[in-house]
Assembly symmetry: C2
Homo-oligomer: 375 residues x 2
């Protein structure tokens, strides 16, 4: 039993694809008037615009003042690669990258390959089984001035608004450059605006930043890697300079990005009816996920598993921590053939009606076994 | 009138797409059993295998001995990016790249960005209006030992077999590493085997090499950038080492390549009926192109344009030189609004029944005008 898939799974253990994506894909394929030319280096203009509006909302100052732009990239790795190449060339005095993340991320390797010094910080508190927002604020205090700070899925950091304000003021004073990762907008809380809301604070505080926006996971277009490297600058003039540089890097990387996924997404986002269908499908999958988490917690309680399991339902998003220690994880892997990360992070959508009993029973056994061993 | 499009154009001035591609795309889209998971980092295995067999033939020693492999890349730029990253790391003592090409190529910029010294050589002889194969052999003699030599579309170089042999022996003795570019197999001569035949010589001489194989142009899947970086090693063991390195670079660049184009191509190549249809469509487009070239030559003759125009039909491929000088090109651009490269290279498929009269008339005027100016 493999619980660490990267993508959202359905009840039948298949990668989830929004139904409206299937419909739109078929419609586009049947369109006889479609021209299959190379896209421009930065991607479809309408796609970039639609993605930016999804991320910031139509009336964000960044969009109204024309100082947010983007380059279509091949997935989120492509976005980090592109952003990292830009930072290496244009922030030569700031070659340290700090990454707030839940596990060793491939993003770190991209920066490392390009010659950056990479420091990774984990803000999961295994004792209290929660994201420690104070730890977050503390580690930022210790970061070197002028570094780049990669913040993976900000909504999962669970900072309150005053805490974000404190963070931003520290970052301002230390001239830390933020590089966000929005890997699955809408799949964390089910609310598109809430999942990317943090970016609004940064815009309103007058930050420049990069953001890797992936649209593969929240539409279910995994096999085409649809990403955008979003750049927010302080003025339209600055933005154009940044974009022109990014375009030349993108051309060297892949000349022009794959078009199909972006066509599907643009069609959905630009059509209010299709967009509504898509949003409903997102809500549905998130509700399913919450139900599964509730079930896991309830079953663990009924089995009399020692300890509190509230952290399971308190975490947002498809991926989260079971809150087990190393011995318990080893027990699951070796004795039960349930494969989870060694920090007990799993993809909750891999659990379904067919396997929830076996999984909760095994977790219970694992916890009891290690409790006994401790005695 | 824009005659420098990168892709093959139809009579109606639209990018050419093989009909069988449309059919297959629709069939794949309607397949309810298709799983839209991320592809592995190197791409679909069956796609790589089919591409290699297309390039080398099923019974090439490189394939039979399991020492040819490939990584699915995002277009040919992606292939050069990946290959260049590998060479930078693993051939540290050989940081010069020589490029045989017909114009300043974007490939040169990719190598340059990665810190290579790039030298470009043009082997078009404007006086005799032909590829000068002796010049090719001469410039290779002058190249530094141990450099990388990029050979763009080898069939266009028009070397005879003994000339290739001479070239290979020079390259062997100077330990020059070949990096081929096969941008549109089948579109040069209409014969798939002939277009990539040179690679066979290099395999039989025991060369290791890279080859960027693009399948976007010869299938008409421009908007998805379907490329393969092909690696031929001296043994299977060496090949596996190379591929494992390439995979880690590819993961940092785009994690997993876009799947759709490769699925279409695999379906066509693995089905003899579809493959035959595709080959016929290739033949058709090449015959059309030859017809257009004949027409251009004939019309220029009938108009009494001074000089010989045999070089137009002697060149293979969609792109070729008109054989005009700088003044004549300027005349076409400024007075006739016919846009061609300053070296007079054009895409012949941009000429069709609707514009051939205007174009030949203009060329004739341009030549006469400069002749008069010379007097």
């Amino acid at each position: 039993m493999f619980l660490v898939y990267r993508v959202c799974m359905t009840e039948d253990s298949l990668p989830w694809v929004s139904l409206v994506v299937h419909k739109t894909r078929l419609q586009i394929t049947q369109d006889p008037s479609l021209v299959y030319e190379y896209l421009p280096g930065t991607g479809l203009k309408s796609f970039i615009q639609a993605s930016l509006e999804l991320l910031f909302g139509k009336y964000s100052p960044a969009i109204v003042e024309n100082r947010a732009g983007g380059v279509h990239t091949v997935g989120e790795s492509g976005a980090f690669q592109l952003g990292a190449q830009f930072l290496r060339m244009w922030r030569r005095d700031a070659q340290t990258v700090c990454i707030i993340s839940y596990q060793k991320e491939s993003h770190g390797l991209i920066f490392q390959d390009l010659g950056f010094k990479v420091r990774e910080y984990c803000i999961w508190d295994p004792e209290h089984r929660r994201m420690d927002s104070n730890m977050f604020l503390d580690v930022v205090e210790q970061m070197p001035s002028g570094c780049t700070l990669v913040i993976g899925n900000p909504v999962d950091c669970r900072l309150t608004r005053p805490q974000w304000a404190k963070l931003m003021s520290t970052m301002k004073s230390k001239q830390i450059f933020p590089f966000f990762d929005i890997p699955c907008q809408g799949l964390s809380t089910g609310d598109l605006e809430e999942d990317a809301g943090v970016l609004q604070y940064f815009v309103s505080w007058g930050f420049e930043f990069f953001c890797s926006q992936s649209l593969s996971k929240n539409f279910g277009i995994y096999d085409e890697g649809v990403g955008v490297l979003v750049a927010v600058a302080l003025s339209n003039k600055q933005l154009l300079c940044v974009l022109s540089q990014l375009m030349s890097y993108a051309q060297a990387l892949w000349l022009s990005p794959p078009a199909r996924g972006s066509r599907i997404i643009t069609t959905i986002l630009c059509n209010p009816v299709l967009q509504e269908e898509w949003k409903l499908s997102l809500k549905e999958i998130v509700e399913n996920m919450m139900l599964i988490k509730e079930k896991v917690k309830e079953k663990l309680r009924l089995l009399g598993t020692p300890g509190s399991w509230d952290h399971i339902t308190e975490q947002t998003g498809t991926h989260g921590y079971l809150g087990l220690n190393y011995q318990q994880v080893q027990y699951l892997i070796r004795k039960k053939h349930i494969y989870v990360h060694k920090n007990s992070r799993i993809n909750f959508t891999c659990i379904n009606a067919g396997n929830v009993d076996y999984i909760t029973q095994s977790i219970c056994e694992a916890v009891l076994a290690t409790k006994q061993a401790e005695k």
